[in-house]
Structures are given as structure tokens and as C-alpha cells.
Symmetry: C3
Subunit: 204 residues, 3 copies
């Protein structure tokens, strides 16, 4: 399990830094700007989780994460910047990063003895913070605030499912897969069909 978490974390870092570079590239940032956005997107969510849990920050302890994030950024920067890519291409890796980080974050919080509701929220935070940083640094409206595209709610649903299945003594690996599938499924369905949540509205 520990080993799986480690490699899933590396994959999530790689996928998220990819979305960061693509977005920063669209805004014609320079090399250091792209590296900052890539690293912030890849490392932001887990950093906030670790600080809230008073845990050693994962990339400060093990610089392999930082090296992966910077390496992906450099490779994509120099290979992709001549290509014209469809602007919303990065939504698929973004959904994958959201799912991976949410499930990893929830799992780590549970192992760190966080209460169940707190663990689900910390997982959601791990999932969404990187993308929020990316969008703020690139001056986009954060996806998490775009109405009619379930984002934080997809993450939270998956995190709660993971917590619930583990409480029912389902094996952690199966619970993790089920949680990830939930996040990805809800997020992709919401993008495809524009599923919405109820909106607070004053009487007209």
C-alpha cells in the first residue's frame, strides 16, 4: 500500500505539472514563470494537506517530487511550445490529477488519524488546491468556481466513498480504486452533460 501511494503520488505530480505547463504556456509566460506554475500546480495541494496535518511537507522531505515536477515542466516547455494544442486539452489530465490527489490525500489523512469528515475534506483540498493555484497564477477563473461543472463536489464524493468503504472494512486498494473512479466519473460526466448543483438565489 505504501509503495502504491508513493508511485500514485509521483504520477499525480507529473500529471498536474503537465496541466500547469500547458496553461502557463497558453499565457506566453517565460521559462521561470512556467516552472513556477508547473511546480505550484504539482505540489500545492499536498503541501496544504501536510501543513494542516502538521506532517513533514512531502516534497521537502523527498526531493524526487520536485525533480519530477521540474523535469516534466522543462521537457514540455521545450517540446510543446512549437505545437498548437486545443485550448481545453488539459481538462483530461486535470481530471486525472484531481482524482489521484483526492484519493491519496484522503488516504494519508486517515493514516494520520484525522477524523473521517476532516479526512474527506483534506483529500478534497489536496485534489483542488493545485488547480486553483494554477488558475490564479494564470489569471483564469478557477475551475472549482465555474458553476455547472462539478469539481470540488466530484472530489468530495469520491473522498467520502473512500472513507465509507474503509469504515465497512473493504480493502484499502479496492476502496481507493472505487473512490478514484467516482471522482473521474462525476467530473467527466459533469463536463459532458453540464450537471449542476442547486444555486442559492434570492427571490426575483
Amino acid at each position: 500500500m505504501e509503495n502504491l501511494l508513493y508511485w500514485a503520488g509521483m504520477l499525480a505530480v507529473a500529471v498536474n505539472s503537465l496541466t500547469g505547463v500547458l496553461d502557463a504556456g497558453r499565457k506566453h509566460m517565460d521559462l521561470i514563470g512556467v516552472m513556477m506554475v508547473g511546480a505550484a500546480t504539482a505540489l500545492g495541494g499536498g503541501t496544504v494537506r501536510d501543513i494542516l496535518l502538521q506532517r513533514q511537507v512531502f516534497w521537502v522531505e523527498d526531493q524526487a517530487y520536485l525533480i519530477v515536477a521540474l523535469a516534466i515542466t522543462l521537457v514540455v516547455f521545450f517540446s510543446v511550445r512549437g505545437l498548437r494544442l486545443p485550448p481545453r486539452l488539459f481538462l483530461i489530465p486535470d481530471a486525472l490529477g484531481l482524482a489521484l490527489f483526492t484519493i491519496i490525500g484522503t488516504q494519508i489523512a486517515l493514516e494520520w488519524q484525522a477524523p473521517w469528515l476532516v479526512a474527506s475534506l483534506l483529500g478534497t483540498i489536496t485534489g483542488i488546491v493545485g488547480g486553483v493555484l494554477r488558475d490564479v497564477l494564470c489569471n483564469d477563473v478557477p475551475l472549482v468556481f465555474v458553476r455547472g461543472e462539478l469539481y470540488a463536489s466530484a472530489a468530495w464524493a469520491g473522498a467520502l466513498l473512500l472513507v465509507g468503504l474503509q469504515a465497512l472494512s473493504v480493502s484499502p486498494v479496492i476502496a481507493a480504486w472505487a473512490g478514484m473512479a467516482t471522482v473521474l466519473g462525476i467530473r467527466l460526466a459533469a463536463m459532458a452533460y453540464r450537471i449542476t448543483l442547486p444555486i442559492y438565489s434570492a427571490r426575483k
Copy 2:
């Protein structure tokens, strides 16, 4: 005293999440957006205080705070969204939350052995951060930056009074009431009479 701090903290969380919902609701956010704003407003200030003090984050340790914040948000969301409320109604609970959080934050910092000036600043931070998060997430100008409405200065004055009274061996409970009354009094007076601080101005 510990018990009083605990319940005052719950009340502050409830009051602040109420202001968050009302503000997010005015911006027609969806359910998850309103919940995020409510939770950030309720928990943000104490979170920053605990991180700066290297203390276990209060709502990670005890999920009752998170449950109160989310419950208030849900109840207000579904009960109030049909009503038309005067837009600045939330300024009164906002002032109450500012006063409660400032005094609680200062008291906790003092118990955590922070030096006196640091304790007063950490109290002020505890008081203002939730509202700043709310206003930023709702795309308002943070109240703390509105000129001519004493906000951070009201909080700081109350925190300094609390620190000073305790240094003079006044009972902590009396010092806390005096500090709260100071924050609330200055804040409400500033709203009513638009009291201002000196402004930095270059020669014309």
C-alpha cells in the same frame, strides 16, 4: 476558562459561517461554493493562527467545528435562499465574529507562550483572516481594506487591551469581556460615524 474558550470558539465559528453563507448567497454561488465560503470564513482565521504557532489545527483535531460550520451553511442555504435580505445585514454578525475570534486568538497565543506583541497580532489575524477569505472568494473588496471603516485596528486595539489587562493581573475572564467590548464598540462606532485613521498622502 478552557470551557468558556471552547464554547466561544463554537459560537465564533457559527457566526462567521453565517456571514459567509449570506455573502456567497448574494453572489448566487451553487451549494458547494456556498459551503466552501462558509467553511473558509469560519475556519480560516484560527487555521492561520494555529499554523503560525505550530499548534495542531483546531478543526483537524476536533471535527465538531467543521460539523457546526457545514450544518449552519446547509440550514441557512436552504432556509434563507428564498428571502430577500438587506445586503449589508451581515455586517453585525461579521463584527461579532471579528470580536470573538480576535479575543480567542489572543488568549490562545498567550497560553501558547507567544510574546505579547506577537500574541496581539496573532489575535488580530485570527479575527480578520476569515472575513478576508470570504470577501476574496466572493470577489468583494475585503472589509479590512475599506478605508474609513476601522476593522483590523478595532481588532488590534481589543487584543492589546486584553494583553495589557492580563499583564496588570486582571482576571482573564474580565479582560476577555473588556477586549471584546472594545473591538465591537470601535467597529460599530466606525461603521456608524465613519471614523478614519491618518492617510499616507504624497504632496499634491
Copy 3:
């Protein structure tokens, strides 16, 4: 060495709070706003470094830093606000603060056993965060995001030089001076000659 670090830290706090006041003053903030910007500019970078390293936050432990930041702010506020200063005057102390904080931050991270690449990044963060907070609070575009003015890259280059020289067993004091000269030299040269990094650009 410890003593030198301490006084260099005080100097960096003083210089950075000076740039904060000058910038906040140009925006005609009131007294408390100017104090908040001054303190955030002076203390922000080191705060983020200490939190990421799980180290006691420097100004919470020793309130002399906070007192220096607030004293500089008050003195400058009341002495300078009648003068008309050239708007970009504060770029020189800003470059000095960037260099000082970057080198101090890298040195502290190394002493705290951070891996070398992480230490260089934490030094860069220590250098740039204060200025980013100042510019965000004053509603300027952060200098770090202005294209064609090497800022984060100047800091990172100096931090990497410091790490490299120490790995080669150069004395820490000489390595620190060389690192500082590098940051200052690159930053000032970039301002003077508008040296740029490669920019990510899609094919036209």
C-alpha cells in the same frame, strides 16, 4: 555565522518593510493598511520558509523582528508622507531585500537538513514571497511576474551558487557573499538592460 545570519535577517526585514511602506504609501493607504503591508512584506517570505520546514516561525519566536518591521513602518509613514518620491525608487531596496532573504533562506534550509534542490527553492521562496504579498496587497502586478525582468531567476541562480560553493567546501561566509552578489548583479543588470528568458509561444 549564527550571529551574522541574525543581523542580516534584521537588515532584510528593515529593508523589505521600507519597500512595503513606500509602495502602500503610493496607493494612499491609511496607517493600519500601511502597517499591514510593511509587516507582510518584511515577514512573509521567512514565514512561508519556516512553515514548509516545520520550524518555529522566526518572528513568533523572537518579537524583535516584528518590532523592527513596525518601527520602520511608523517612522517612514510619518516622515516620508509629505515628500514626493520617484515611483520606482523602491526597486533598489527591493533588490537588496531579495538578495538578503534568498541567501539567508537557503542557508537556514541547508542547516535544517533540506536536500540541496529543495534548499535552493526555499531560499528563492524566502526571497520573493514578501514582495509578492506587497504587490498583491497594493494591487500591482507582482514584480516576479513581470516578463523581461529577471526576479525569481536571479534569486534561484544565487541560491544554487551558494549550495554549489558549500558542496565544494568553500567557507559559508564567502559562499554567502558570492550568492548575494549574484542575485543583486543579475537583478540590477536585468533592470538596466531588460535581459529576458525564453518565452513559451504557440506557433503563429
